[in-house]
Symmetry: C2
Subunit: 342 residues, 2 copies
C-alpha cells in the first residue's frame, strides 16, 4: 500500500519548468515573474502540493520538532506539563513528540536513541526513576543537543532546568501536619536517585528539625519505581503500619504514591484522617472528589511546561553556544482538605 504525494518535480514537469523555478515561485521569490508564480501556485493548490518535511529536514539539518520524555502520560502532572509545552511549541511552529519511559531505564534509553538520532532539534525530559547513570544524556548534551530538564533534573548536567520548589512545598505541608497536632509523621518517597526525592525529603526533615521533632529513618520509605508498581507502595505502607510506634500521619512525595496509598489505606479500612492523616503530591483534579477529600501539594504543571519549552526554543534558536543556564523554581500550591486535619 503506497501513499504517493505530489512533489515539486511533478509540478515542474507538468508546467514545463525547472524545479528551482517552482521552488522559488512557491516561496515568492522576486526572481520569478508574477505570471509564472500564479500558474505554479494555482497548480500546486490544484494537486494539493505539500512540501516534504523529511526532505526539508535532511537539507536544513533540523526537524522543527522537539522531543518530550516523561515517566507516564497518564499521570496528570505530566499531561499538564505536556499541554504547557505544546502551547508554546505550536505557537512557534514546532511539533512535539511525546514519549513515556514508564520509569524504566531501558525504555528511556530506547527512546533517547530514537529521538536523538537526528529526528529532534531539542529535548525536554524528566528522567525515569530507575535511571542512575546519566552518561548518555551527558554525552548528548556535550555533543550539542539542546536539553531542558524539568521536575526530575540531573544536577551535574549544566543546562536550563525548571523545577517546583519542592523543599519549601514539603516543608509547609509537614508544618501543616505538625500544627494539626500529628506526632509521628512518616514519608513515602520516590526512588532515592531522583533530585525531587532528595529535595522533598530535605524539606520534610528540615520541618521536623525546626519544630524539634526527632528524625527517624524508619519513618521514611522509598518506592523505587515511583509507585508505578502497586506492590512497592503496599510494602511501604505495610511496613509503616507494622511499626510499634505507628505513624499517625503520612506525607507522600510522589503523585502516584499519593493516590495509591490512599487506595491501600481505604482497602485496609484505616480511617483517614482519624487513624492516619495523609497529604501528598498530586495534580489530578479528581482528588477533591475522594472520600475524604485529599489534601495535596499541587505543582504549577502547565506553567512548568511553558517555561521549559520557552527555554528550549531559546537554546535551539540561539546562534552561539549558550553558557548562562538558569534554574527556574516555581512555587507549588498546598491545598488543605479533609484528609489531613482532624
Amino acid at each position: 500500500m503506497k501513499f504517493e504525494a505530489a512533489t515539486i518535480k511533478d509540478i515542474a514537469k507538468a508546467l514545463g519548468l525547472s524545479t528551482s523555478t517552482v521552488s522559488r515561485a512557491l516561496r515568492d521569490s522576486y526572481e520569478i515573474s508574477e505570471a509564472t508564480k500564479k500558474k505554479i501556485k494555482d497548480y500546486a493548490v490544484q494537486i494539493n502540493y505539500r512540501p516534504n518535511p523529511v526532505a526539508l529536514s535532511l537539507k536544513e539539518k533540523r526537524t522543527l520538532s522537539i522531543g518530550v520524555v516523561v515517566a507516564e502520560i497518564a499521570n496528570t502532572f505530566f499531561s499538564q506539563v505536556i499541554n504547557g509545552i505544546e502551547s508554546i511549541a505550536y505557537a512557534n511552529g514546532y511539533n512535539v513528540i511525546i514519549t513515556q519511559s514508564k520509569e524504566s531505564v531501558e525504555k528511556e534509553q530506547m527512546i533517547l536513541e530514537y529521538l536523538t538520532s537526528r529526528s529532534i532539534d531539542g529535548l525536554i525530559i524528566s528522567v525515569a526513576a530507575e535511571t542512575k547513570d546519566f552518561g548518555n544524556l551527558k554525552q548528548l548534551h556535550e555533543k550539542g543537543l539542546p536539553i531542558v530538564f524539568f521536575d526530575r533534573v540531573v544536577e551535574d548536567i549544566d543546562t536550563h532546568k525548571v523545577v517546583t520548589d519542592n523543599k519549601t512545598g514539603v516543608y509547609r505541608a509537614t508544618e501543616h501536619l505538625i500544627k494539626n497536632n500529628y506526632k509521628r509523621i512518616a514519608a513515602i518517597a520516590n526512588n532515592a536517585n531522583l533530585s525531587i526525592t532528595r529535595d522533598r525529603l530535605a524539606g520534610f526533615q528540615k520541618a521536623l528539625a525546626d519544630h524539634n521533632r526527632p528524625i527517624n529513618e524508619d519513618y521514611i520509605k522509598y518506592c523505587d519505581h515511583g509507585g508505578l508498581i502497586i506492590e512497592e507502595v503496599e510494602k511501604a505502607v505495610e511496613s509503616l503500619l507494622a511499626l510499634k510506634k505507628r505513624p499517625d500521619a503520612l506525607i507522600l512525595l510522589a503523585d502516584k504514591i499519593t493516590t495509591e496509598t490512599f487506595g491501600i489505606l481505604r482497602e485496609k479500612n484505616i480511617k483517614i484522617p482519624r487513624d492516619i492523616a495523609i497529604i501528598g503530591f498530586n495534580n489530578s483534579n479528581y482528588t477533591v472528589l475522594f472520600s475524604p477529600s485529599l489534601s495535596v501539594i499541587s505543582q504549577p504543571a502547565f506553567e512548568m511546561g511553558e517555561k521549559a519549552a520557552g527555554l528550549l526554543l531559546h537554546l535551539i534558536e540561539s546562534k552561539r553556544a549558550v553558557t548562562d543556564f538558569q534554574q527556574e523554581c516555581l512555587s507549588p500550591d498546598i491545598i488543605i482538605r479533609e484528609s489531613s486535619q482532624k
Copy 2:
C-alpha cells in the same frame, strides 16, 4: 547551537574508502572483506556513528513511525489506548507520535496536516467531538494513507475500526438502573456528531423501550465538547435539575462528563445516589476512591490500542491494497458500585 553527528561520509573519508563500501560493510554485505568490515565497524563504534533516519526516510519513503490522534491524553481511556498502541508498535520497530486534538476541529486539522505530509506511515485516530466534516480524512484515506479508527469512528470511511460495544454497554447500564427501581433516567451525551454518541444513545433508548419506559427527549442532553468545557456540563446538569419531573438517575455517556457531573452534583450538595443515582463511562482507576464510589462503564482500552496498532501495521506492511476491512467490537465492563444503587 549545532548538533553535528557522524555520517557515513566521515567514516569513508577517515578510512580512505568510498561511502558505498562503508554502507555495505555496516550492513554486513558479502561483497566486503572481513578485514575492511572490521576496520569500518570499529571506527563506526569509536565515533558513535548512527544512521540518519531522516535520510533513510527520504530514500525508503517510509518513516517507521505512526501517528496517533486522541482528544486528550489526560483522559485515562486515551492514555490506556496509547499504551496499548505503543506496546505493539515498539515490538515491531515502529515509533509512535502522540498528539491531542483537544476536541477542536482546527487543532485536529493542523495535526493531520503535519502528520500526514509524509512524516508518518499510518494513522490511528479517534476524531474530535467538534468535527463534522471528514472530507480531509477521506481524502487522505483515498490517497492511500493507512488509517485505523478507534472509539469515535467515521462510518463512511471504509477501513479498519476498533470500537467498544457501546450499545450493549449502555443497554446493560440502563437496565441496571431500571432494575434498581429508578424511574426517571436521564442521559448526558457527548456531541451528537460522534458515532459513540449515536451508539450509546441507541442502547439507552432500547433499554427504556424494552422495559416499557417512555422516551423523553427532555431527558437527553448533549455536551458538544465532550465535557472539555465545564460550563457545558453544568448547563446540562442544571437544565435536568430544573425539570418539573426531575430525573432520579443519570447515565453519563462520556468519560469526562461522568467525573464532572459527579463533581457538580457534589458541589450542589445533591446526595448520590439518594437524590440522584449516577453511572457513566470512565476508565480512571480513581473512581473507586470517590465518595460515593462511582459505578462505571469501563472500556478495554489497552486492548483496543493493541488491536488498532496491529491492524494498522498490517495495513502498512501489506503489499497490495487491502479491501477487506474489519470492525473489531470489544465488550465493556460494567462495574457497579455505590453511586447507582440505593
